[in-house]
């Protein structure tokens, strides 16, 4: 059992949740999302994000529109769909349950 596997598995599910959460507040293009995720130390390399975005888009949780950019190629601006919002709500409650579960199970005697 490799610690890296466990770590990345833990991160994987949460990463999708984070992306949806970021886009809940309005549309963004990948560099914005990467910036926020990097700041939160959720991703290390940018390449991680693109497969995820495509998958979420293919699952109809996200949509995008093209926009010309002054400094480079056209950008994809992603936004959350109706379906994505419902999905996010469910993830919200799942996350709360999980957080509670983790808090309860990792609580030491001293904390009680």
């Amino acid at each position: 059992m490799k610690i890296e596997n466990t770590q990345s598995q833990m991160r994987k599910g949460i990463l999708e949740y984070c992306i949806l959460s970021i886009l809940k507040n309005g549309e963004a293009y990948p560099s914005d999302i990467i910036g926020k995720l990097k700041k939160a130390k959720m991703i290390v390399v940018e390449g991680t994000l693109y497969p995820l975005l495509t998958r979420l888009k293919n699952a109809e949780l996200l949509q995008y529109r093209w926009e010309e950019s002054s400094s480079g190629p056209p950008r994809k601006y992603y936004s959350i769909t109706e379906k994505g919002n419902t999905f996010l709500l469910e993830l919200d409650s799942t996350w709360k349950d999980l957080a509670k579960a983790v808090r309860l199970t990792t609580k030491t005697k001293k904390d009680e």
């Binding site: 994987k12 560099s31 290390v44 390399v45 991680t48 693109y50 975005l53 998958r55 888009k57 190629p73």
Partner: protein, 518 residues
Amino acid sequence: MNKTVNINLAGMVFHINEDAFEIFNNYINTLKNHFKNEEGGDEILKDIEGRIAELFTGRLDKKEAISLTDINEVIKIMGHPSQYDDEIEQEKPQEQQHKEEDLRKGKRRKVFRDEEERVIGGVCSGLTSYFDINIFWARIMFLILLFIIGPGAPFIYIILWIALPSAKTTAEKLEMKGEKVNINNIEKNIKDELDNLEKKVRDFDKKMTKEVFGSKFQIFTTKCVDFFISVITGIFKFIASCFGVFAVLLGGFILVVLSTSLLTEGSFMLEVRQLFQYIFEEGEISSSLSIGIILFIGLPMVAVILFGLKLINNTTIHSNYKIGMLCLWFVSWFLLGNSGTNIALEFKKEAKNTTTETIDYNKDTLYLSMNDIDRNFDNAFDAKGFKVTPFEKELIGIGMRLDITKSKDSSYNLIKVGSSFGKNNQTAKRSAEGISFYFALEDEDMIFDDFFSIEKQLWRMQELDLTLEIPIGKTIYLDDSMEDLIYDIKNQENMWDYDMLGHYWKMEKEGLSCISCE
């Protein structure tokens, strides 16, 4: 001076140094490879290329060509595919991927216990899910089985209860209800397997060509060996599952036969069992013997069934159960050894008891016959060397042996020598004394019983030898019914016992002489 290459990234043209281009090209190819099987892989690649174009633009403020440093920086930012978190999914072992695929398609059913639908342990409900029959019928069938094979049914139920895992996770519940098991599906499964094999062979072919031309001969041979190993494993797995089915059926059959014959009345082992019942007075040691035998033979059979289930269904039981079974098996050794010793002790000493009965008879000719009421002792133990048999709920002796000799005086005598075994001389003697044998004297007929009785209903290998003494000058007639009774009677004609039947025999000084023979 550096030569540059022109590349087009997301519709933008970049000048890139030749050495940097090599590295960059490799990187993009790695990405392409990584995403080639993924849905929307092209799109992901385009997005990434777009982002790289953006990064390049940012770095080209004061210069025009992309350098090796730039490339290395960009690759560091974007990351190598092995750093992506989706890596695990990509590298799942092939087998597991197949399994998951099957699961999604609802293929490959496994037997589980369905605890949600249980009455006792969920065995019936689990089996109904597997065979896709109504649970009502499964339970009715179980009840019918209970009546047919008696105590064996709950026994088997318990084994299944232990052996079958309960369907706990959603995946297991899906597996439990998977695709129906019928001929079509089996056919389909075989077809799938063949397709799979074909695909493997094709892949192998492709790889081989690639690798031979890549002249990586060593890798090629390794692949070769891997391939053949996988083919052989496949064949072995198939044989193993066939063997598993056989093991389960065989083990189950023996268990049913065993439990039926030892725990219930009416079976081919009944006779032995009945005789064992007569070894001890109370019968409690006989039950410990039964339990010992059941455990001694039954547990290995359970192990065989479990082994079979493991081969077919990949079912394993907790090691505690295994240890428990092993312990129980050793207990059975102890039980058997103990009963064996007890039994042996009861047969330690032999004793004889001789009684002589003088027959009040003066006439010249005595007609000897056996009480021929046509009882059928054919199945009795006589044929197997036992002289005692259970008959109509009573232990009786059979297979007496009658000899005819000369009387020392002028009277007819019947000498009865009963012999028996026992724990010690006294009990053996007492048991021998408990043997009694009767005959009837009617007019000129002496009619022997066809059995001897045993007072204390205990089997101690009792035997009875009879000797009829005839005074000199008197004549006897041997009726055909005496066939089974007479044994090695000496006569002057040296005739076999069987030939002596139906003739008159006169006792002379020298012994019996036939007076009606030719």
